[in-house]
């Protein structure tokens, strides 16, 4: 039976190598021309526990995870027990033949006799490959790319293990084979997840300095920058804490290096005083916040959209900021670049608000054009050495010339206290009013530069689904499902969540019969933000806060039509 859309769930304990085979399979499927969307769910531990790597693969465009399991790769017995109820009669399971299970369409694998424990995951990969007609020719280049830097013996042993799995699979096919319809191969596509795209977007935007304190799920943004730091001429420094990280980045930016920090909610909590400092000293800075469920330590490795309010408001005092919330891998790349430009142009903090789901979600992506990247150049150049220079000169648009210290004889004085035009501390209350007004005047330009939300679906819909950030894919696919049921449906996705410009979307809200807001938190933060900014009340909310990402099926069920 040729299928157009299948879901493969690989489950096991941490340390069993399920992410490695997930990545290998994912890359091979992309090379073979399939669309993929990966969802990773893992526990906050290095060994044991229960983790999953789910690949949805399809012959046509997909942008969301979905419910259901077509192939279950159970690397341990727990996986079978946790997911047996999600298997359908057409599903196939791959499991160790020494384990207790009961499911008809099973390929039981004698792992212990086929390979050493270290390579059991690769044997499993071979068995999965047998279901798709993937052979050693298509997997070998992928193995080389992922494992090539390790010892030659390791690569060879993996090849052998893969072949054993493949042979075993071919010999032991269950009657009912799941097979993806063929598509034309596409070896040009990148396999990239959201955090990788943010890292590359930062490099394309001109990043020169990054400081961080490790925190899941943001750490991989920085690890990907570090991977390319030498060739791109960047310095990355692991700070003693997030307070240091943000202050270091502000210091580097002040002295001429476009800078970024990456963290999650708890780390951002420590950074907020520094965010306020960037607002006051008018220092450009990009902050990537990858959300996970809180409060406090919460569920450290799961997903949520619970920090929207916090990121909009975190930092004392009043100053302008810009917050982007990418909804796809491509948007992670584009909006991170844009964040560097907006931060530099308006000399204020710009945020990328993402979450664990998007951070870890691999997709096949058309390679970005390095040629069309537009890295920023920090600061302004002085006109004359002899004209006086005021770092915080009062201007009509609120933007003052930002010279860099040590580049000319002009002195660059920045102050966290309220300050005069030349940057020195003041308690002159008239100057205070002028400076507050100057900083906030930048909002006019920021609002003119903001991104309109993206509309998708029918005109004048019966159901309009508002969403923001990473849930974009699931909500767009929900619209398609609803349309198939004959319902006039549409969605409005916000990839910029602050500031908002009601002129850009009010008509859309008013023209819809019913408006729902779909977001990954328990208190409908975005819906309330819309109400606050527009007085338009949204009281139908589809919320999710169990640590897992939205799927179209979840949304349709909650709509309860």
């Amino acid at each position: 039976m040729k299928r157009e859309d299948i879901n493969i769930l690989i489950g096991g304990a941490a340390g069993q190598g399920l992410v490695t085979i997930g990545q290998l399979l994912c890359r091979t499927l992309i090379n073979s021309g399939y669309e993929v969307v990966v969802t990773q769910s893992y526990m906050s531990r290095i060994r044991g526990g229960h983790n999953t790597f789910t690949i949805r693969a399809a012959t046509g465009k997909i942008i969301s995870p979905r419910l259901g399991i077509d192939i279950l790769v159970a690397l341990n017995e727990e996986t079978f027990h946790l997911y047996r109820h999600k298997l359908s009669k057409d599903s196939v399971m791959i499991i160790d033949d020494s384990l207790e299970y009961e499911f008809p369409n099973t390929i039981a694998v004698p792992f212990k006799s086929l390979s050493a424990k270290l390579y059991e995951n690769t044997v499993a990969l071979g068995v999965v490959a047998s279901l798709f007609g993937i052979n050693e020719k298509s997997i070998l280049p992928v193995m080389k790319k992922f494992l090539g830097k390790k010892k030659a013996k390791y690569l060879n042993d993996n090849k052998t293990a893969f072949q054993k799995g493949l042979d075993h699979g071919n010999k032991n096919h269950p009657g009912n084979i799941i097979d993806l319809a063929p598509v034309s191969p596409d070896s040009q596509k990148m396999m990239m997840n959201g955090n990788e795209a943010i890292a590359v977007g930062a490099l394309a935007g001109g990043l020169k300095f990054c400081s961080f304190y490790p925190m899941t799920p943001a750490t991989s943004i920085v690890l990907n920058i570090i991977k390319h730091a030498d060739e791109m001429g960047c310095v990355v420094e692991q700070a003693e804490d997030e307070i240091s990280a943000i202050n270091m980045a502000i210091g580097a930016s002040y002295a001429g290096a476009p800078s970024m920090v990456a963290t999650s909610g708890g780390g951002y909590a420590l950074m907020t005083e520094g965010i306020s400092l960037a607002g006051m000293t008018e220092t450009p800075i990009v902050i990537a916040v990858a959300m996970r469920p809180g409060p406090a330590t919460g569920l450290p490795t799961r997903t949520e959209q619970g920090d929207l309010d916090f990121v909009i408001h975190g930092g004392h005092g009043e100053f302008p900021r810009v917050i982007y919330a990418p909804g796809s891998i491509e948007e992670c790349y584009e909006l991170t670049q844009k964040a560097f430009h907006i931060a530099e142009k308006y000399q204020t903090p710009a945020f990328i608000l993402t979450d664990q789901y998007l951070a870890d979600s691999y997709r096949g992506v058309t390679p970005f054009a390095g040629d069309s990247a537009d890295p920023i150049i920090a600061g302004n150049r002085p006109e004359h050495e002899n004209t006086p220079y005021d770092r915080y000169e009062i201007t009509e648009n609120g933007i003052s010339p930002r010279l860099l210290p040590g580049h000319s004889k002009h002195l660059v004085v920045a102050d966290s206290d309220e300050h005069t035009g030349d940057g020195h501390i003041t308690e002159d209350l008239q100057v205070r009013i002028q400076m507050v007004d100057k900083r906030l005047r930048k909002l006019t330009g920021i609002t003119n530069d903001l991104l309109a939300p993206e509309y998708y679906g029918d005109d004048n819909p019966d159901i309009l689904l508002l969403c923001w950030g990473s849930s974009k894919g699931a909500v767009f696919e929900t619209v398609r499902l609803l349309q198939k049921k004959g319902i006039k449906a549409a969605t409005l996705h916000f990839s910029q969540v602050w500031p908002l410009k009601p002129d850009l979307f009010m008509k859309t809200l008013v023209n819809a019969k019913e408006v729902f807001c779909v977001e990954g938190n328990a208190t409908s933060q975005f819906a309330k933000l819309i109400t606050r900014e527009t007085a338009f009340v949204i009281n139908k909310n589809i919320l999710r806060y169990d640590g897992l990402p939205f799927t179209p099926e979840y949304i349709v069920e909650k709509l309860d039509l």
Binding site: V200, V235, E240, M248, Y254, G256, A257, S259, G423
Partner: protein
């Protein structure tokens, strides 16, 4: 030597008789002795009375948050290591609120100078105990006396093998100025802890108190001898040694980053080809 007048004269918000005046003068003459002009210097400070010092001379200035002068100084130095970067603040800012950054900065060994106005009390917030206050020091906030043992920054710095560790006294300006000049010229992290009376809030550790105890280490003091330095760093009581207590020239943080050998970070332009290679690696 640059003309000290280049660094200007400003009105201050300090109490008459404050040790800060003398430290400010010593800093200006040290900068001039190092042949530096204001535009070549970046002074980074936090919050407190000492942290206002950068406003009272001509230089590039980043007056940041309480406790956070060192991270800003480190970031700025990494972005442009041609700048002479000096972090200057008080004992509460550097050793209290910024204690974690202080220890991490000593570990890193960037070529920066740390100047600490150490008056063993909080001035700006009106007289609470500081990390360097003596045990038993009575304040309105510690009416039964400060219960904790004082932080010994010089000892910590020597213990950690910091590049350059010195102690000065605001009441001995010429000697202090010499120490600051040596600290600026030293390649690596240099700490100058400066004892200073607070005429408003510290009536125990007064000018007279310091004057009776402080003595200058002899010219032939072997500052490269770690054991001697450790022993000297613990001497704080009836006698308080002033001078360069420890010197340890080692590779700086900047020297370990290959990227920085190509010149200051801000001068390194992006290459589109390098970016394309990055993209193609995914």
């Amino acid at each position: 030597m640059t003309d000290i007048k280049e660094f200007g004269e400003f009105e201050t918000a300090w109490c008459p008789g404050c040790g800060n005046f003398s430290i400010l003068k010593a800093l200006k003459s040290a900068l001039s002795a190092c042949d530096l002009s204001p535009w070549q210097v970046l002074l980074v400070s936090g919050i407190g009375q000492a942290a206002k010092a950068p406003h009272y001379l001509k230089a590039n200035v980043f007056n940041g948050l309480h406790g956070r002068s060192l991270p800003v100084a480190i970031g700025a130095k990494l972005a442009n290591h041609e700048l002479t970067v000096i972090a200057e603040s008080g004992d509460g800012c550097m050793y209290g609120e910024g204690g974690n950054h202080f220890i991490a900065a000593l570990r890193r060994n960037l070529d920066i100078t740390i100047i600490v106005h150490n008056n063993m009390v909080y001035g700006l917030t009106k007289g609470q105990a500081s990390p360097t206050s003596e045990q038993g020091f009575v304040t309105k906030a510690q009416p039964h006396g400060s219960p904790s043992a004082p932080f010994n920054p010089v000892n910590i710095a020597v213990t950690m093998g910091t590049g350059f560790v010195a102690r000065g006294f605001a009441g001995n300006r010429e000697h202090l100025s010499g120490l600051i000049a040596r600290a600026i010229k030293f390649r690596g992290t240099a700490l100058v802890d400066i004892l200073q009376p607070c005429v408003s809030f510290n009536h125990v550790n007064t000018f007279k108190w310091y004057k009776e105890r402080c003595y200058e280490l002899p010219e032939n003091f072997q500052s490269e001898n770690r054991e001697l330095a450790l022993e000297t760093s613990l001497e704080f009581g009836e006698k308080i040694p002033l001078g360069v207590i420890y010197e340890n020239r080692k590779k700086t943080f900047e020297e370990t980053f290959a990227v920085l050998q190509k010149g200051p970070l801000y001068t390194q332009l992006h290459e589109k080809k390098a970016l394309q290679n990055v993209i193609d690696s995914y």
